[in-house]
Symmetry: C2
Subunit: 245 residues, 2 copies
């Protein structure tokens, strides 16, 4: 229970205090690859190395609030973007030795964003950038593990939720939506079957009215869709085999 009662033999204020932070695994799909939002650390330890954006939870903030604030501060993403972000708690990392200096418990979040608002460094971060998943050396702290957990979680949620639309702009083609699945799962999906599955799932997507069509790419222009009101995917859209990548 949450009783602030110190264990036998200890005075509560004699404890080394815990610091509570948030870490954000912000993912996007870009050029057919999964990208991660990373910041370059400005100070020791791990100065100059890549890390997940994040920072301290303030005394009057919830972890969710802190996550949004830190994301805006460190990446310069517009407030409106950060407000509307699909933010989800991943898990909490509490290994006593995860920070070499002091006891830090960190609540990790996952965010999925469409397109490519180019970030800029700010606040605590010397620089902020989108980097392809895995294209960097080891990250600071236990952030490699956090990121791996985030990817795993997102991959699983694509199966039984309509979350994939969070990776897409407000209007998107079924090809773009399929790209999300293929990129996160690291597999190729059959176009007609994917189309059938998405369109026969009630509320997954809604067709945009006067058939505008996307231009620009090769091939036949595709119809545009918006995210539907459904959030769950029943029955699920299972990834083909043992997970790849």
């Amino acid at each position: 229970m949450s009783t602030p009662k110190a264990p036998e033999g200890y005075d509560r204020h004699a404890f080394e205090p815990f610091a509570v932070t948030v870490d954000l695994a912000v993912l996007t799909v870009r050029e057919e690859r999964l990208h991660v939002l990373l910041v370059q650390r400005g100070q020791e330890p791990y100065a100059g190395e890549w890390a997940l954006p994040g920072g301290f939870v303030l005394p009057r903030e919830s972890a969710e609030t802190a996550a949004r604030r830190e994301l805006a501060e460190e990446t310069g993403l517009a407030g409106a973007i950060v407000e509307g972000l699909h933010l989800e708690q991943l898990r909490t990392y509490s290994d006593p030795d995860r920070d070499p200096r002091m006891r830090v418990v960190s609540v990790a979040f996952t965010a999925l964003v469409p397109g490519l608002p180019e970030p800029r460094g700010g606040g605590d971060a010397a620089e902020a950038r989108w980097l392809p998943y895995g294209s960097y050396g080891p990250l600071a702290f236990d952030h490699d593990r956090i990121l791996a957990d985030a990817r795993e979680r997102v991959g699983a949620k694509l199966e039984y939720s309509c979350l994939a639309t969070a990776f897409c702009p407000p209007e998107f083609t079924l090809g773009e939506l399929r790209q999300v699945y293929e990129t996160v799962w690291g597999v190729e999906l059959d176009r007609p079957n994917f189309r059938r599955k998405v369109l026969t799932t009630p509320g997954f997507v809604r067709a945009v009215e006067g058939p505008p069509r996307r231009t620009g790419g090769r091939g036949k222009p595709a119809a545009l869709y918006r995210a539907g009101e459904a959030t769950a995917l029943h029955p699920p859209l299972l990834r083909p085999e043992g997970r790849s990548t």
Copy 2:
């Protein structure tokens, strides 16, 4: 990121320290009802009211370690039981006002246990008891919400994992396993169909050799099974309709 850098204008040690606790939602199936392990609080606030077992994370502990220790302390469950427990992080609750006295961030865990080791109070808890889910007044703090989240999560995990065996003793009948699903989901399942699904899923259960059979109840004796090595359920075992209860 986890950088212990205080925000502008603050010295790190000027912060009101955070307390970090763990809360445990320990669930079992008993007499065809979902039961929850609750403790009666010994002190203010909420003295005398029911709450989830849990307590402080010590300076050199991870949240997982603290969860097991607190569970053993407050419920008197045998160390061996607590060791082997299926313990899973649920999420972290960080609302600044969730504890009336000070800033407490709590990492919640879910545990699924078989049968009925009767608990006894201990440590911080005046009493510890199994109570049917929902059969109590409002719990202390935000524990009602934590418990609701736990139930929701467990219900969802039954669909796509082999977790249901964690509710069963080492050897169990398919009827007992089916009871788990029916109790958690609050629905009735078709016996032959459930049997087929479980038996055709590779690694879900293994038949116990020399056909011993369970006696005691009414009806034809059932064959015994053990949990198999599989952890995921592909394809999933979906609950019938919109979730009940």
